[in-house]
Symmetry: C2
Subunit: 423 residues, 2 copies
């Protein structure tokens, strides 16, 4: 019983829909490649088998319902029975698994997934989301300002805490560990958390503002859970996870423990998957998965800093993680997605940011973002406190609709930052 998966008249209904960029290997037609992809990602294999039956072949068969021979974009609708509800690993093993490795395929990129209602609702989504985070920080409508302690690694726990303290009293709301700083010989996790939260309390007293520390708990899952509990016991409200290098199973576990802590998601390694426009997985897809899994804050790029991605791409990602309904936009591979009661995720812009970029950034990304600068704060000629001040001044200028240049005339820290890094 040879199956045929292509049916361009098929109208999907309540199915999981994937859009792929698909480039067949030499000698293989696009249609053949479509059949391979649809089979290997669902119920098929490379030869006809005696164990297939009619129920499976009719009820579980996916349909390739759209093939664009000019752009090599195809769409496949998968019956939801092919997926385990609430399991990102199982979903990826299906629709982003073996298919990448097939000889018949030269390049394959998962551009987007639309999750139907029941699958969407099988995930918890963020515990706090944008509203919850704003409530915790008592900051209603300005962008949040954060920093990463720099250098990335190497400071002792005490030095780390001191840099964090300076950032807070200079004006940062948030201080985070870097993606490669976990439990190091020169800077033990527990000690760092104790020292840094101690100075957080002091910074809160001095400034009268709520201050946040996001310790990087990334490790194997049991250790992550231990570290999360430790942070909570010490009075922390946040944890940070490198979601790609730790992996989806661990992220889902941490979220589903429901610790009552905000989850900040760093995306280190995403570009090994997302950078090539012809192969891998789009950042938009990763962002959707992260929202479903339930991160409260997610790095989405900057469009203006040291990391790659066009402004339009970064805007689409922000929209996808913030909106209640995402409408189809064929130009950017955006498929319709209803988010139901899954809360919006706070978009984090980070990577090569400095005060001189803040006006462009807010214009592109709105005020509903977390602006995170590492070098752009600790690289200020007068140090971290001045750097944090300069960043807050830049934000204030934009909110008051005054140009950075003009605002810098009366704000010396901003002025020095603009002199060093330009606008």
């Amino acid at each position: 019983m040879p199956l045929e998966y292509i049916d361009t008249k098929y109208k999907p209904r309540n199915e999981l829909i994937c859009e792929y960029y698909l480039e067949p290997s030499k000698g293989i037609s696009l249609n053949e490649a479509c059949e391979h992809i649809a089979a290997e990602s669902s119920i098929g294999t490379w030869t006809d088998i005696v164990t297939m039956n009619k129920r499976i072949a009719t009820k579980l068969k996916p349909h390739v319902f759209s093939i664009n021979k000019k752009t090599n974009e195809i769409k496949i609708a998968y019956p939801i029975e092919l997926f385990e509800q609430g399991s990102i690993p199982q979903i990826l093993s299906s629709i982003a698994g073996n298919i990448y490795g097939m000889k018949a395929i030269k390049n394959l990129r998962l551009q987007n997934i639309t999750f139907p209602k029941s699958l969407t609702k099988s995930f918890p989504g963020p515990k706090f989301g944008i509203k919850g985070v704003r409530k915790l920080l008592k900051v209603k409508d300005r962008p949040l300002v954060g920093t990463i302690v720099k250098p990335k690694v190497g400071l002792t726990a005490e030095q780390h805490a001191k840099v964090a303290y300076n950032a807070w009293i200079g004006g940062c709301d948030i201080v985070k560990d870097d993606e490669n700083l976990t439990n190091m010989t020169f800077n033990k996790f527990n000690k760092r958390v104790i020292e840094t939260l101690k100075l957080r309390d002091k910074a809160e007293k001095i400034t009268g503002e709520k201050k946040i520390y996001m310790p990087n708990i990334t490790a194997e899952t049991s250790e992550m859970i231990k570290r999360a509990h430790f942070v909570k016991d010490q009075g922390g409200e946040y944890i940070m996870i490198d979601i790609i290098t730790a992996g989806w199973a661990a992220l889902q576990t941490i979220r589903e423990l429901d610790l009552g802590m905000v989850i900040h998601a760093h995306r280190a390694m995403h570009a090994a998957l997302t950078k090539n426009p012809k192969h891998g997985i789009s950042m938009l897809t990763i962002a959707k998965l992260a929202r479903l899994a339930g991160v409260d804050q997610l790095h989405v790029g900057t469009a203006v800093g040291k990391m790659e991605a066009t402004p339009a791409e970064v805007q689409e990602i922000e929209e996808e993680i913030e909106e209640k309904i995402m409408l189809e936009n064929k130009k950017h591979h955006v498929l319709e997605q209803k988010w139901y009661d899954i809360k919006p995720v706070f978009a984090v812009c980070s990577g090569g940011l400095h005060p001189g970029l803040v006006d462009k950034l807010i214009k592109l990304m709105s005020k509903n973002i977390i602006i995170q600068a590492g070098g752009g704060i600790h690289g200020h000629p007068d140090g971290t406190i001045a750097g944090a001040r300069a960043m807050r001044q830049a934000v204030d200028a934009v909110l008051k609709d005054i140009s950075l240049k003009k605002y810098a005339q009366t704000h010396v820290e901003l002025k020095k930052a603009l002199t060093k890094w330009g606008e």
Copy 2:
């Protein structure tokens, strides 16, 4: 204090060494790109910062000690203090993290990592390894023969168990779930395990051979642990994990729980990272990480089936996961690696295999492999039992040094398989 990371006279000693393929973006020189990569993967950032100090800049600085301007291959030596012992997520967040996403880089591929002694020894490695698996199965020196129940998904738990039973009594040692079969509405995990292990017992009685079932426990970590315990309680000795879609943190957690169960690692999604020769991470690197983390069996490719990779690549991967010492081989990006007391991993060959390929496969990969065929068994014209017989006959033929064609003259199942699929 601007850092400089390139020093081609530098001799690494007891450091973690990475080989990358590195293609700078337009307008960036290879040397500049090297500086960006070395900085972002360790202690640097995009601007000079006041919080840097001399201790960090001297003791934690990595060295780019080899740059091949013809091949764009570079090597970096990283001080081990940059890494958390025993943490694959932290190591990847460092040397395979943000660097992929930098604007300055067009393409970047992590070709290989050499782990120095202390880091290597900070991982458990396999609990059983090749010897332990052979002892459990009481099969001394022939390749193990396995199948995947097909269709990939769709059978009920009872149907699944029956297909497994047929494979066992036909001659398969091992039956595994497919990578996308976990806990489905039509085939619940617990029921499948109960039914399948029941028929395993029966197959063992009838054949007098040890038979193995590898249920796919892939899920979020807590659920995976629950499923593993359930399998153990039901008398199973094996678990299977989709290590890339579940992620490294979860894999390490399962291994470190030390459940006394053999871990079979499926690599679905690896080729999203490994397929592009210029970007991502090599399969060799993933295989090394999997061995460190402690899988007992790992899919490495077939070199002769439906999945991509040259014979030489697949052989190198097999050697890397089996040998005690891996010697440098510049042609295939193999760096020297001493494995100390980390046990060898059983190489699993799977993907488009059938009896007609067994002679070539064993010649390429040795007898120390697990030959796994799904379609190549259940697609046999006379069904699963005959398919499994044909596969064992093919293995017997090779062990007796008789050509498949000749052996088929007296073995009807093999003959029908060769007629269907060729040699």
